[in-house]
């Protein structure tokens, strides 16, 4: 065989690999709910998350049918929540809303943008979580930080929120001031934090996934509200 034939075979294999990749990704979405991941105090990651992800990718009705499993142990503390400043306003919330309005509630703060495919893929689980805890002291705050200029248009954000079934308050962080402040080192879309009633961050996830852990953390915090800051949080807030 000459050099060209080797290259042709290589390209053919790459194309076959691409088809396989596409097919594999598609089949993941139809899987049924997986068993809850084992609970521990470590940061969410690795294989347990992947098992949980398959469940979270199931339809909203699947995820809302049963009560959320609750963590066996208290989730760790990753720091104190920041502020939301220099916003361009709010959607689906009064214009004078502030982050402190959610003090005393468990709240999820998610940095997202409507053009980001990975952000969109988290929204089914978010919607199910929102519905499941609609009668609890719980809120989701979507902080919309546009990656590209076409994602800055408020009408487009509002329209996307309807299309994507985002019914919770959306803070408009057009200048990405808060996106940068909450992620001082590495910055990614989406980034999801769970904040407890005292303002302590109890869950921190970059990107998709870890849905079981997210749901369990929220359920744990609602059932077991902290009464005082942990020593780590006291040290961090000094």
């Amino acid at each position: 065989m000459n050099r060209g034939q080797y290259i042709a075979i290589f390209i053919g294999l790459l194309a076959a690999f691409g088809l396989f990749a596409t097919a594999t990704r598609g089949s993941d979405e139809g899987e049924t709910v997986a068993a809850p991941a084992a609970a521990d105090n470590d940061r969410t990651d690795t294989a347990d998350d992947t098992a949980g992800d398959a469940g979270a990718d199931a339809t909203s009705s699947d995820t809302t049918a049963a009560p959320a499993p609750v963590l066996a142990d208290a989730p760790g503390v990753y720091g104190m929540q920041g502020e939301l400043v220099d916003l361009d306003g709010w959607l689906q919330a009064p214009a004078d809303t502030e982050l402190s309005d959610f003090d005393g509630q468990v709240h999820v703060v998610q940095f997202w943008t409507f053009g980001c495919i990975n952000c969109k893929r988290t929204l089914d689980n978010m919607a199910a979580l929102y519905e499941r805890h609609q009668d609890d002291e719980f809120e989701i705050i979507g902080v919309h930080a546009p990656e590209f200029s076409f994602e800055e248009d408020v009408d487009s954000i509002a329209s996307a929120a309807v299309d994507l079934n985002v019914s919770w308050p959306i803070a408009l962080d057009t200048r990405k001031t808060n996106f940068r402040a909450w992620q001082p080192g590495r910055r990614f879309w989406p980034r999801t934090f769970v904040v407890d009633q005292l303002g302590q961050i109890r869950f921190d996830r970059i990107g998709e996934g870890a849905y079981e852990r997210l749901n369990e953390t929220v359920a744990y915090l609602i059932e077991n509200p902290p009464t005082e800051l942990t020593p780590e949080a006291q040290w961090m807030s000094r």
């Binding site: 992947t50 590209f148 994602e151 590495r186 996830r205 970059i206 990107g207 870890a210």
Partner: protein
Amino acid sequence: MTVVDLLLEGFESAFLPCSVILLLPGLASALAARQESTSALAGFTIGSMTLAYIRFSDRGLDLPDPVIALILAVSVVLLLIPLVRRLNVVSGLGGLAAGIGAGALWTPCVGSEFGSLLVDLPSSGAPGALQLWVYMAGVMAPLVVVGAFMYVIPRGAFLPVRPVMMAVGGGALAILSLATAAGLIDNVIGQLVEWSVT
């Protein structure tokens, strides 16, 4: 999280808008390097993977925009002007500079596998670096196809189209450099993304 899962997730994201800023300079480098596209792409791969690891493992080196613009401008010079007779070396260095610039500008898609990797990356050392590079190999698979295609073409075939390749490849890198210097890179990439999705 397996290596195959990471590779597949990277390959999937190669076709998403978030990968435009990584793939476009790579393609431009290959074109600008003409018959030395393999060297340029090899340099580009090393540069982008190294920068991505430094940034995503929280080891600092968040380059300011003027520095990135300068690095991209250097890549244009190295790829278009034969400063020394060893054209493959110069092209490789040009690709390396373009890769560093692209790696500094790139904000990747973060799926579940890559998200898990990113959580551990600051503390996982060499295994984490290897996993990141596996993911990036998936993202850059289209560049491998381009490189293979250009490799198989006889060198003489480049002669008639060399000016076009230099203009398109060098021009694209120069526009990226100027846009970065002017603080307009998000607008340029946003426009490209908008075109790609419509």
